[in-house]
Symmetry: C2
Subunit: 296 residues, 2 copies
């Protein structure tokens, strides 16, 4: 069965490219629709696009991606949208981890992997707007495949209406596919997006899932729905909040709050670790880091 | 012999307190002696002092320290001087690491450790002045003891004269104690203060040493000399540079350069890992993080 997986891989990587296009168009439209005086002197932000490469263990082709970043926009202070499709032989350390996670069963000397995904992190000019993270991916080894991903909201000023709206949309999304998903994936996000050394959550949560590998078509459809739900929900929150006023103290609070996000990503985040250790372009992997941070 | 180590422990922790006092007095004098117009409207910076505690595996006393931070000064944008003396039973994970490093030989169920040290990190207002790090420490287990530490310079604008001056002072310091130290400890710093994911050094190096355990008195005297050399050398560099002009572009370059320091400390630094994992106050452990950082 797994030798025939070329079609599924193509469907998945095509979807991530498609979602990327929709996100980029939506975010540029948001830049155009901003009306508040502060920042209107700037041009509406636009993404700049760069191809990225992975320096894997092979000399030749290890895969790569497209990194799209909008910096210094009216609404987005920095937002990155990365897609990548990477492949090649697993290095020994990752192979060991994957064996422990039962992702590799056969005892071949060289085990090839394939992974494709999209990752979005947005840091906002206006502290009334939350920062957000979304990532979905498909992973493949000759023995198995799985989907993973998640999204979480990181508001420096917590607004109950936005938090409820975000969680409800994710619950509805999960429920459309499997009633057991939401409670499980919400708890997973609470556990995962947590900063042990500070004993606090990095944000207000969302959903997180990994190792989803029951039925390819159903799991893929769910993964697509997570991406679509993220996009419609987050743009709706921005439309509600982006023209609200803010103070210098609000901005300062946001810069300090971003320290949590930075600490989390550099110390704990799985995707960041995998990216840096598997030799992907560090600028693409660390695209998630905020444009400006304060540590008191 | 090791049961009599109470006196040595006391000598070491007293020294770290003494060095702390000298550093704090010197840095406050530097704030007073600043004459450049930019920033002179501010009051000369002063340290604020806070006691810190370690939440170890015991309910009761696990040791702690003194965290002294000066923020928003005329010369120092943020400088932290931490001293701590911590002790208690080693947790299983650290015990395993220490066994691998031959720091524990006996097979006791509970192994107590004791560690005392000083750590200094300075981030400067003026990008003409380099950021700096210095740390020295004594570690003790019932089977052995050792000194470790180092110092390295992190200039966003590299000045050959300052870099030479810093390295030469460290060479002279090492040579006073053992002619083999400098080449070994300089290379160790080059290897240690390195950011593999970006394939660059985090700064311009200095010295780094660990596991120094040949003769207690001689090793202690060397460790003291590293602290004194750091202080006299760095204050001399500040005196030379702090009244030089800088541009907004210089400042921006400094904020971006600080990203390297932040990535290094959160991903690789041993002291940071040990501090966070052994339950010390995260604000004290992360005192090293810059007051403001930009990631492009």
């Amino acid at each position: 069965m797994l030798n025939d997986f070329e079609l599924e891989k193509e469907k998945a990587s095509d979807w991530f490219l498609n979602l990327r296009k929709n996100i980029i168009e939506s975010f540029e439209r948001i830049e155009d629709s901003y009306t508040q005086e502060t920042g209107l002197e700037k041009l509406a932000g636009r993404f700049s696009v760069k191809k990225t490469k992975r320096n894997g263990s092979q000399e030749s082709d290890n895969g790569g991606g497209i990194m799209s970043v909008m910096r210094g926009g009216r609404v987005f202070e920095k937002v990155g949208v990365n897609v990548s499709t990477v492949y090649g032989p697993l290095d020994d350390r990752i192979k060991k981890l994957m064996r422990a996670r039962r992702k590799i069963i056969r005892n071949d000397k060289i085990v090839n992997f394939w992974a494709s995904g999209i990752s979005v992190v947005a840091h906002m000019q206006n502290p009334q707007c939350p920062a957000v993270h979304m990532n979905t991916r498909m992973f493949w080894t000759p023995d198995t495949w799985w989907f993973g991903g998640g999204t979480d909201l990181n508001p420096s000023i917590e607004k109950a209406a936005d938090i409820d709206f975000f969680h409800t949309a994710l619950k509805d999304c999960c429920d459309r596919h499997d009633k057991t998903y939401y409670p499980k994936f919400k708890k997973w996000a609470d556990d995962y997006f947590y900063i042990p050394h500070r004993n606090i959550a990095r944000g207000v949560g969302g959903i997180f899932f990994d190792d989803l590998s029951t039925d390819w078509s159903r799991n893929f459809t769910f993964t697509q729905d997570v991406g679509k739900t993220f996009l419609s929900t987050f743009t709706e929150i921005l439309n509600r909040r982006m023209n609200e006023k803010w103070t210098d103290a609000d901005k300062d609070g946001q810069l300090i709050y971003r320290g949590l996000y930075s600490e989390y990503n550099l110390i704990y985040d799985r995707g960041t670790k995998f990216g840096l250790e598997s030799g992907h372009d560090p600028d693409a992997v660390l695209m998630s880091l905020p444009p400006m941070v304060k540590w008191y």
